[in-house]
Symmetry: C2
Subunit: 222 residues, 2 copies
């Protein structure tokens, strides 16, 4: 087996690909990179240092968009992108929304600000940025609540890369205890389904850079 | 025929999809939106107002990533994503590099700063931002030069979405005359090939918000 994933802990894009590969039951070796300090080997594979990078036999796939499309094409089962063009468009639309909007508004304002900024630069969080992050998190969780009210899974009746991507992003924020689950009962039911998947479970015992998780982070019943 | 594309002039993501649809010889109606002021109809199709949006019969595809994958799946010929998993990974890697890195570093620092900022906010360009934009444009064109030195087209021997995406972004900047083509002879040869494609030609007579194009913008021999 020569399938190696370069990734970082609590990088939502890395989490997405790890979760997806476990759902597809693809074994892989891991090389853990440090967020913000790419290794020489990583830079030789991807000059922009972006994570994750998958090396599958000889083929190098850099960045989570390229990897998710590659995995879906080459390891088709179980289908995670959806069976019809309409379903696939909805899955991809949601992936792109979480990877762009949710990431930029929430990961940067909360996870970066609270955890990574101190680790990388030694600076404490800026309370104005945190305030903005909480407001946007609530707005975006309202949208997740609407999706979860409408369907069994986020893009429709089947589990997909949309759920994988959403869970990758939301779980990083939930680690900090910042999601007000009581205000989002249907989103919470959806997240309970995700947490009970064997492919997702290993994330629930990870620890982020010496910061303790909130009490319910690892618990299936919260 | 019910295929409608909501797009904006000199939006590189819109250009990408228009160019790709013309290459696939798919007729479509156009609804031209104003950058920065999405219409009510656009917001009803895509709450984030992001362009372009394609409505193909009943199916709504929002954002250029979703649309390019959709077009490739549903209108397979001519193949523009590549024939093998390795080629497709390279095409997607380059699309993502232009849409993320090149766009953020170059479109925002040059096209937005010189043209859109005044139109949207009435503010003149900030010379520090322009300086940063020129530096990054040259760095990124060096990379395009390397790609063009290695292959006939950017991802390899066949024309692909990588060329389409690159041309969409570069042509907006070239309109302003900011690309120092004499320093990038192989990239220039590649761009001559692109300019001579019938599907690309119509962009060469467009005008941006009352700003005149540089002298060579529309010319096939420059």
């Amino acid at each position: 087996m020569s399938r190696v994933l370069y990734h970082a802990q609590f990088c939502p894009f890395s989490r997405k690909i790890i979760f997806g590969m476990r759902e597809k039951k693809l074994p892989f070796q891991e090389v853990i990179e440090e967020l913000g300090s790419p290794s020489a080997r990583l830079l030789s594979l991807n000059p922009w240092g972006e994570l994750p990078v998958l090396v599958d036999q000889q083929l190098v796939c850099a960045n989570s968009y390229v990897i998710s499309e590659y995995l879906e094409e080459v390891y088709a089962l179980p289908v995670l992108m959806g069976e019809s063009p309409a379903y696939r468009s909805e899955v991809r639309r949601l992936m792109s929304w979480f990877d762009k909007i949710f990431y930029q508004d929430v990961f940067w304002c909360l996870f970066y600000e609270k955890v990574l900024k101190y680790k990388l630069k030694g600076n404490p969080p800026d309370t104005r940025v945190l305030k903005k992050g909480y407001t946007l998190l609530n707005e975006h969780m309202d949208y997740v609540e609407q999706l979860a009210e409408t369907h069994h899974f986020l893009a429709g009746k089947n589990f997909s890369w949309a759920d994988i991507t959403a869970a990758a992003h939301i779980s990083c924020i939930d680690y900090l205890g910042d999601v007000a689950w009581k205000n989002f009962p249907m989103a919470k039911e959806w997240y309970i389904k995700i947490k009970s998947r064997p492919a997702f479970r290993p994330f629930l015992s990870q620890m982020a850079f010496g910061v303790r998780s909130c009490e319910h982070y690892g618990s299936l019943d919260f």
